[in-house]
Symmetry: C3
Subunit: 162 residues, 3 copies
């Protein structure tokens, strides 16, 4: 191989890593818009077929259960009244074909009676990804309320410790 070819291959690897980071950011940035508009298939499609969404109240596994959450009465009542699932900029670590993203999220709800908005909760999130057939998919998302419980702090700490 010539020197130029060697340099080109090294540069292509760096570009791939940048693409991976932006792909992961792009996927995560779709969650809020999808879940607040009730696009249940778009939400579920972020996960692998048997992907897990592990929340404080229990664990959802697979597209059917995740879609059911979006279509559930409580979630539909949020979005009919006006809801914003806002997400902080994810902190991403990529290791070949797996990746972890750590971020805060915030749920803001509109209260139709008063016309006001309130922060209903803030949450610590860990998104675990795998590259499946060339596409990043969520394998496990773990979310814990930032209401003082140690688990939530542990999620955040795990994402930023060396």
């Amino acid at each position: 191989m010539t020197d130029t070819e060697t340099l080109l291959i090294a540069l292509a690897a760096r570009v791939q890593l940048l693409e991976d980071q932006l792909d992961l950011m792009r996927i995560i940035s779709a969650y809020g818009p999808a879940v607040d508009s009730g696009e249940s298939a778009a939400v579920a499609g972020m996960w692998t077929e048997d992907g897990v969404y592990d929340v404080d109240t229990g664990s959802l596994r697979g597209h059917v259960e995740i879609e059911a959450m979006v279509l559930s009465k409580p979630h539909q009542s949020y979005i009919q009244a006006g809801s914003g699932h806002l997400i902080g900029p994810p902190h991403i670590e990529i290791d070949g074909d797996t990746a972890v993203a750590t971020c805060h999220s915030q749920l803001v709800l509109h209260e139709p009676e008063t016309g006001t908005y309130r922060v209903a909760r803030i949450t610590a999130n860990r998104w675990e990804f795998a590259r499946v057939d060339g596409q990043w998919k969520v394998t496990v998302r773990t979310s814990r309320l930032l209401d003082g419980r140690a688990e939530a702090r542990e999620i955040l700490a795990a994402g930023v410790k060396n």
Copy 2:
């Protein structure tokens, strides 16, 4: 063309797409700082000369009208009291020389009488961009309150549906 040249051209196209994504993120991330500091020219300059900012209360067209919004009494009273136009990570789709970014925004206001802060609104945003003379500019930004109105959900859904 040699194989190396062909690979180099393909890699340059991938780099261009990454640059486009980061350029768009960079432009959107300027909105909050510009609008909360009253930098009306910086706000208006995000748009094309005849760009449109279509909000619930009406439509602003062109730099003069967008600047006038920033310089208006209601907006100035927000920023004099303390305001934060926070934006969620934008979900970006690029198609050659046009692009669409979808994201939430949140307006937090300081209330001087009590020294407290409140979420005044959450909003669904669709930013349409065109590349003009090599620079991305907003052609239309459409923003709708997430207060239960269907239009807001439609904006979010359009950004994440396949």
Copy 3:
């Protein structure tokens, strides 16, 4: 040098600039998770050894003082009750081996007595970075409350003016 080599070198410089932008975003995105989980060493390690965190109430200099802030009673009481230091997407300007990022931040606190959450403050932030031994480090972070004080607006304006 051949034309191919010249193109390759130019492309490598563009890739480096993209890497710098994503590295800076990655560092900033670690702040919230680190500070809300009490990972004081991870927080302090974002700064250079003698880096400054200049806040409304005074200035912290160096890792020891920054760690002490994280370990302080007021901060620990926030995180034990549940806190979210959320950050808006940073607006980044890179100039060789220095960079400036401008963004909003928002502190949301859980109130254990009522089980509710409130926005405790919104803040304007200017992060100044230097590349030290190949790694971006914060040299000065300046944060001012968005409560109407002019300094906060000046921070935001400085980040987006040409």
